[in-house]
């Protein structure tokens, strides 16, 4: 029967159906069990991992005065795909931006070269760090601009307009940081300089994650498993600085209109009490929307306000080098207990003396009167004490001794174990340097005579200078200068290579500077103070005015270094500034109000913007 044959076709059709069903089951197996990328696809589709930024740690000064805190700010974000029927003009009006800005910004966002992670599905930051006032009008009209959102974030706010160089600022993380530290994501903010940078990881806390469910149009539909899988953010740790904000403020006021810096350190602890660099700026300038404009203006300013002169500027110490010189030369034998050297005043050779005093002079007078010939003679005696020797080797070995001793005061290299941001190293010229310059045997004491009076190749930063004073105040050691009050820096004690027995006489000399010498006009009546002025020749005009010192003489509480660039005599500018900062710190207030006002309102450089 024909039908019998056709009936068998039932099995062909059954086989066809079975094969299709099996193929589909196999396909399901492949999609659901073997392949893993679809599971990831689903996550990236539906999960919006919203970062919750922890509040950044607050910053206080040594007396627990609040310096830096957070205030709410707003970002305007957009999801390109959701934008429709946008009235651009209305939008620009609401945000108070120009049409050009809008167009440029949109192009920038879409440019994958500039905006690596661009996707039309994910939120992109359109404008960042707006104040509540900026965003209020926009918020009211938000319904008119589908695809745009407002995101919360925090901005730094400052209690005082001071200490910008120390505090530093935060800004969007750089690409390099993004690549080196997986913690950061594009658009995150991190400390860029100052303690904001140094203590970034403590201040920032730990970001949290909130997993939200996002529908195909990007709308948030709720929380994934009611927040079970969310991670709570950990708030940043508060930072207590060694800084005394009142002292910093007085320092900045005194430096107003001048170029230079002032650094104050507590000798017993190495805590930096003040670190003034002028021209300075209000730290709140580098916050929020105006940041880039203000930053650009600061960069352009010829007086370089962004530079922290306290740690980055390098000066010849000039006469302020003499106390250290006196210590090192005693240690090396160039100055003995009753050594006297003659001085012919301005007629001295090879280095003349700028002061008139009796001759011959001893160490106390030499420091008090800042006698150049004395130090030259002592310097030569110390490094030439065995002559030059074969191939100058004996001379050179004594020179090396001198270099090492000077360096042991923290001069000529960075404080590597310090939390102070961006230091310059200064310079104590090495043998190698002179060998290269003059040849192996081509230099002798005479060649490098400028070093004896702190001129020439020797360079220090104000921080190093202040630290060297702390070392003298401590009679032979210093603690690494630092800014974090809770840091156990006590352990980082650095002994100088000068025997403590040599210190009292130098301290006596420095005391005499205030009693009888160049600093006498600025002595506080009831405090015994030690100091040394310096008037440093330089190739950029008028002499730099320098002062170093510490007080009180017994049990010193504060060591200080002040540099006023191109201002003239050390005694005219740096000394009164230092004196008043000592007064502020030791007495808690300025009693010499007239002097204060006179210095604070004087300008040594017309380019400096007064504040």
């Amino acid at each position: 029967m024909i039908n019998d044959r056709l009936e068998n076709r039932r099995w062909v059709i059954s086989a066809l159906i079975t094969v299709v069903v099996l193929v589909y089951i196999f396909r399901l197996f492949n999609l659901q069990i073997i392949e893993t990328r679809y599971k990831q696809g689903a996550e990236s589709n539906a999960f919006l991992r919203k970062t919750i930024f922890p509040p950044r740690g607050l910053i206080y000064d040594r007396n627990s005065k609040l310096l830096v805190y957070n205030k709410p700010a707003y970002d305007v974000a957009l999801i390109m795909r959701e934008i429709h029927d946008l009235d651009t003009l209305d939008f620009c009006k609401a945000l108070n931006i120009s049409k050009e800005f809008f167009d440029n910004r949109m192009l920038e966002i879409k440019d994958r070269k500039k905006n690596l992670g661009y996707s039309s599905y994910t939120p992109q930051v359109f404008m960042t760090q707006l104040n509540i006032e900026d965003v209020a009008a926009f918020q009211e009209n938000l319904y008119k601009f589908p695809g745009f959102y407002i995101q919360n974030r925090t901005l730094r706010e400052y209690t005082y307009p001071h200490g910008a160089h120390i505090l530093g600022s935060i800004g969007e993380v750089s690409r390099r940081k993004l690549e080196s530290d997986p913690y950061y994501k594009q658009g995150d903010y991190a400390g860029r300089d100052g303690v904001e940078f140094t203590y970034e990881s403590a201040l920032r806390g730990v970001k949290g994650v909130e997993i939200l469910l996002r529908d195909s149009k990007g709308r948030i539909q709720g929380r994934y498993r009611d927040g079970e899988a969310d991670e709570a953010p950990k708030a940043g740790t508060d930072l207590y600085l060694t800084l005394d904000i009142e002292l910093q403020k007085i320092g900045e006021q005194l430096m107003n209109g001048k170029i230079g810096s002032a650094v104050a350190i507590e000798p017993s602890t190495g805590e930096i009490l003040a670190m003034v660099s002028n021209p300075a700026f209000d730290p709140s300038l580098l916050v929020g929307r105006q940041r880039s404009a203000n930053y650009a203006a600061l960069v352009k300013d010829p007086t370089k306000p962004l530079m922290n002169r306290a740690t980055q500027a390098q000066y010849s110490p000039g006469s302020t080098f003499k106390p250290i010189q006196a210590l090192v030369l005693q240690q090396m034998g160039g100055i003995k207990e009753h050594t006297l050297y003659s001085c012919n005043g301005p007629a001295s050779s090879p280095i003349k003396c700028s002061h008139s005093h009796g001759s011959p002079v001893g160490i106390l007078n030499a420091i008090e009167q800042s006698c150049n010939p004395y130090f030259w003679s002592a310097f030569r005696a110390a490094i030439e004490k065995e002559g030059y020797g074969e191939k100058n080797l004996k001379f050179k070995s004594h020179y090396q001794e001198w270099v090492d001793a000077i360096k042991s005061f923290g001069i000529g290299r960075k404080f590597e174990d310090s939390d102070v941001f961006e230091q310059s190293s200064g310079n104590v010229p090495s043998q190698k340097y002179y060998n290269r310059y003059y040849g192996e045997t081509g230099w002798r004491a005479m060649t490098i005579r400028s070093l004896s009076i702190g001129q020439g190749e020797v360079l220090v930063t104000p921080l190093q200078l202040a630290n060297s004073m702390a070392a003298i105040a401590n009679k032979g050691y210093y603690i690494t200068p630092h800014l974090n009050a809770n840091d156990t820096m006590q352990l980082r004690k650095h002994e100088t290579l000068v025997d403590s027995a040599y210190f009292p006489i130098v301290i006596e000399g420095m005391w005499r500077v205030f009693e009888f010498g160049t600093g006498r006009r600025y002595k506080l009546p009831d405090i015994s103070m030690c100091g040394k002025t310096g008037t440093v020749e330089n190739n950029r005009g008028k002499d730099h005015s320098l002062f170093v010192g510490f007080a009180p003489r017994e049990n010193p509480k504060i060591a200080i270094a002040v540099v006023v660039e191109n201002a003239g005599f050390g005694a005219t500018w740096a000394a009164p500034i230092a004196s008043m900062m000592l007064e502020q710190y030791l007495k808690g207030k300025i009693e010499r109000v007239e002097l204060f006002n006179q210095i604070a309102t004087s300008t040594t450089n017309p380019d400096v913007k007064t504040r």
């Binding site: 024909i2 076709r9 069903v21 689903a42 999960f47």
Partner: protein, 485 residues
């Protein structure tokens, strides 16, 4: 009334169970698919899709019950009438239907809208069954199929005019039933060959040989034909030697043209066509001279295929509209376009793939809840099953469909009347076609053709249509035990 007359005893309850399983699973999936995260309502809330589907299910069951109570003979007697009514409805639809997402296939009466195309499948199945159950009708020659082709063609064209390409294509499913009823198997094979050739031509058409000297698509497709031209004659005894000679010649031509190409650029397309044509003509003459119809058929198919290859290339590049081209290209992995034409399929694969072995659990699917998958309660409903119930759930659904199809064919085979059998195979073919296209589309191995998954997808028209289709079969089947009155 004896047991034989009581539908309760004559009804094929197995099928009903499969039907109910699918309908209920579909209903649950629709609830899952249209469930909003912050929605508190139940599966019976009528403002929601699941609640509406519940109404459709109840009414569909009522409809099925009514069908079961009718006299089975009216389906045979009024088969052409049903067909005629369906055709009229289809025509009317073209003129009165509003434009809904580009298709004009819905008749809207007040709050109810309804798609006559769903009814047309059932009506066409009845008409075909009626025609093919005529005394002495048998598919023997091509001319026997002409009336069948016309019965199919009319609704096919009318539905195409409604811009419902997917529903129109469903009418191709009847080929499977024709095969059961005697249509030559070669037709199905040729159909398969055409699909393979089309895919090869399109898939590799962009890959040119040498310096624009032909496309791997065309040459590859012709190579397939040439292989058929060699293997088929080789399998019939007297032509073994000649087949081998042609195999050798073909290889020789390939080698020769590659060598010649070193001095003179060769167009490989023409070389391939020439070789294939020469072979075909040789077989044609040999077939005629030695009276071997099989050889003539081979030659005929080869030449036809050559024409088809060129036509495919032409149609794809010059007739199809860009959005159709893109869909095919995405399917063939020629283009990766997860946000454009490939979006639906990509999202549906993600939804299914993320389900894993056991699924995320009822109402825990994120992809479907968050509306990543388009048309997730209608054409892409299978995604919800895949995401929320995982591999075991979706495989189970496929197995139930398989059991249902096998059951329907079994029912078909046990009928005494060819009207019943033809109708049963029509039902099986239609359901199979829907299953294959719909699930294949969701799994990304079929092009995106929007047709519902029977009994599963949301919608009154399609549920009613499929219920009618199936319950008419059940009614017919139930009558086989009835005493003739």
């Amino acid at each position: 009334m004896s047991k034989r007359d009581n539908i309760q005893y004559t009804l094929d309850w197995t099928t009903v169970v499969y039907y109910l399983l699918l309908v209920v699973m579909g209903w649950i999936s629709i609830y899952g698919a249209s469930y909003e995260l912050d929605y508190e309502g139940s599966m019976l809330s009528f403002d929601q899709r699941a609640g509406k589907q519940f109404v459709w299910i109840i009414t569909a069951l009522a409809l099925g019950g009514v069908v079961l109570l009718l006299d089975h003979r009216i389906f045979n007697y009024f088969a052409y009438v049903f067909y005629g009514v369906a055709i009229v409805l289809l025509i009317v639809t073209i003129f009165v239907a509003p434009d809904i997402k580009g298709s004009r296939s819905w008749i809207v009466i007040g709050p109810v809208s309804f798609q006559p195309a769903e009814l047309a499948k059932m009506a066409t199945a009845l008409a075909l069954a009626k025609f093919m159950s005529q005394y002495n009708y048998r598919i023997k020659a091509w001319k026997d199929m002409l009336p069948l082709a016309i019965i199919i063609f009319i609704p096919f064209v009318l539905i195409l005019l409604q811009k419902e390409t997917g529903s129109a294509l469903v009418f191709m499913a009847f080929l499977l039933m024709f095969y059961r009823e005697g249509m030559k198997g070669i037709v199905l094979l040729l159909g398969a060959l055409a699909i393979v050739l089309f895919i090869v031509v399109i898939r590799f058409s962009i890959e040119t040989i040498g310096n624009e000297q032909g496309s791997w698509g065309v040459v590859g497709a012709i190579a397939i034909i040439q292989l058929i031209q060699i293997i088929v004659p080789f399998s019939s005894h007297p032509h073994k030697k000649e087949s081998l000679i042609f195999l050798g010649l073909s290889v020789l031509v390939i080698v020769a043209s590659v060598i010649i190409n070193k001095w003179y650029p060769v167009d490989y397309n023409y070389v391939a066509i020439g070789t294939s044509l020469v072979t075909a003509i040789y077989w044609a003459f040999t077939g005629i001279l030695r009276r071997y119809p099989k050889l003539i058929a081979v030659a005929f198919i080869s030449i036809g295929s050559l024409v088809f290859i060129y036509a495919s290339d032409m149609i794809f590049n010059h007739v199809l509209e860009p959005h159709h081209q893109i869909r095919i290209k995405v399917l063939l992995n020629m283009e990766d376009d997860p946000t454009g034409a490939g979006y639906n399929v990509n999202q549906s694969k993600i939804a299914i793939g993320s389900g894993g072995l056991w699924g995320k659990g009822f109402l825990n699917g994120t992809q479907t809840k968050l509306k990543y998958v388009p048309e997730q309660d209608t054409d892409f409903i299978f995604c919800t099953v895949g995401e929320e119930h995982g591999f075991w759930g979706s495989a189970l659904v496929l197995i139930i469909y398989w059991l249902l199809l096998m059951r329907i064919m079994k029912i078909g085979e046990r009928q005494k009347e060819s009207f019943h059998r033809v109708y049963a195979y029509s039902v099986a073919s239609i359901l199979f076609f829907h299953l294959m296209i719909n699930v294949g589309m969701v799994l990304g191995i079929m092009p995106v053709i929007g047709i519902p998954l029977p009994f599963f997808s949301y919608g009154g028209s399609s549920l009613w249509g499929f219920t009618l289709l199936l319950f008419i079969l059940l009614r017919l089947d139930a009558s086989r035990l009835e005493r003739s009155r």
